[in-house]
Subunit: 319 residues, 2 copies
């Protein structure tokens, strides 16, 4: 059974770089379409080439401007670039450009840049499941670098960063940024910290705060990565060389001693586990629909069996 357009054809066209085919595939991810399984199987042999850059930070720090500036630098190296803007809170379906995506218009006519917003609200399995799949689509479609930008804050930042090879935490001058970062748990996830809007008062203070908070938790073992803190003014394209240098260094570091493979392996393990748990839950749903779970529950209520024994039987039923 194949649905129009045919999956193989869609994957083939996406691999040739067709933006429409890529868009269609990411929509399938957003919709958690049943054909995803087939799509992912077809994409698998063509993945693993893209460098995935995560970019995260609180609202107003200049994520879109910085992404746009980084895209420019990467295009200067003649690299094919994908941008995935993940908005965990938005109910709007993908494809549509978000308001601040407009700043990305610099690259709108460049066929070697693919920009896409993705809404993940309501996605079965949530953000942590949709993002790696969308990344796999962009990876297989020939992007050399994919930038994943989160619009959300807090837990979603951490989750999206978890999908990246190199995570950039973007900050801006302002009181309490260091504390905020520590609270949000982003100190742990940042491989490179960038203080944007460095022409404003307080940029040095912010950079120093982050450095000192990082040094508190720093590992002292040889070979460990020490997250650098660099400054830039994305709107004026100032300091971008420093940012890219820090990113390149991290990429080189990742390439040594099998670190990149290890990091990706851990990510894949979490993804596989999430899919497996969902599959088992679905089977339990089938058991529920088939009255199996209801019967077990009725026996628990009557005191005939305890919940653990009932759970054992439920596990047996789905196994």
């Amino acid at each position: 059974m194949s649905s129009p357009p045919d999956t193989d054809d869609l994957v083939r066209r996406a691999r040739e770089g067709s933006p429409r085919a890529v868009a269609r595939l990411i929509s399938l991810v957003e919709d958690a379409a049943p054909s995803l399984r087939e799509v992912m199987a077809a994409l698998a042999p063509h993945t693993g080439n893209a460098w995935v850059l995560g970019l995260t930070g609180s609202p107003g720090v200049g994520k879109s401007t910085t992404t746009s500036a980084l895209v420019k630098v990467l295009r200067g190296r003649d690299l094919r670039v994908g941008v995935l803007a993940v908005d965990p809170s938005s109910p709007f379906s993908g494809g549509a450009l978000l308001g601040d995506r407009i700043r990305m218009q610099d690259h709108a006519l460049d066929p070697e840049v693919y920009i896409r917003s993705m809404a993940t609200r309501g996605h079965l399995g949530g953000l942590s499941w949709a993002t790696p799949q969308a990344l796999r689509v962009l990876d297989a479609s020939g992007c050399d670098v994919v930038i994943v930008e989160t619009v959300g804050v807090g837990q979603s930042e951490v989750e999206v960063a978890g999908a990246a090879d190199t995570t950039v935490v973007l900050l801006a001058p302002g009181m309490g940024d260091g504390i905020q970062a520590a609270k949000a748990g982003i100190l742990e996830i940042g491989d490179v910290f960038v203080v944007n809007k460095a022409d404003r008062d307080g940029a040095d203070v912010t950079a120093r705060d982050i450095r000192s908070m990082l040094s508190l938790g720093e590992r002292r073992e040889a070979g460990d990565w020490r997250a650098p803190v660099v400054k830039c003014v994305a709107t004026a394209a100032e300091g971008l060389d420093d940012v890219m240098e820090a990113l390149d260094k991290h990429r080189s570091w990742l390439g040594e001693e099998g670190r990149l493979t290890e990091r990706r392996r851990r990510r894949a393990a979490a993804e596989v586990e999430a899919i497996a748990v969902t599959a088992l839950r679905e089977r339990m749903g089938d058991v529920r629909a088939g009255q199996g779970l209801d019967e077990l529950a009725a026996r628990v209520v009557s005191g005939e069996i305890d919940p653990y024994t009932a759970a054992d039987q439920l596990v047996d039923a789905v196994s």
Copy 2:
């Protein structure tokens, strides 16, 4: 293998009403002890007798005072009463009385009243799992009524209410209470709404607001329960008869047409499902420890297989 004190002995003494045995069993629930399975199996035949009353509301509405007043009324009927105060945010272990539990001292010397605070932070499976187990302990120990009081707010209120036969939502006069209630989702969970501190200004407005918000979502089918809104002043024991009348009516309604059994069956089904999912996750953890998941993840990273195929194999491995 049996641990001292022996489970059977502990269960026997709890059933005889020993407060120390009950305390020990609830501590096992808090700690998610491995022996819980054995405990629950031993308790199962002795459960299903207690009427579980959930009491929830924002901080400051007078939950402890109202609980204490209700205990007094129930003791007047010569019923054995258990009180379980669930604090989802507290890191403090159970047994210790929380600050505002002091007001419950009225009943501290009554052997027919068992009062217990339970911390659920860090409990594997969380609140939704620990609460029904603790209720089962109190139920089997001969309580005729168990009042579950939540100290927390928001989602935890909804979860605790989900464990009750009859849920009381407690309110106090004050602006925006109706809106707050709607936001927190407690309009849906309340079987009886009680406006406490009814001697204060605004009590009538609060009661009217709740009534009108309830009427918006009201089901019109014959036999459906219409949640009443009653007023009381718990500190002065005023209006308690009205509250009890509303609670008794709901209990009678539950007793008709198998509604109580149906409600408990739904709850048991959710509990059994949660235990089963946790068991399967643990097996996946074993697979992970045994390198099975790591190997699958490595094959995903290399593009040899896709995550769905890997998940299928993981499911097979734990089945």
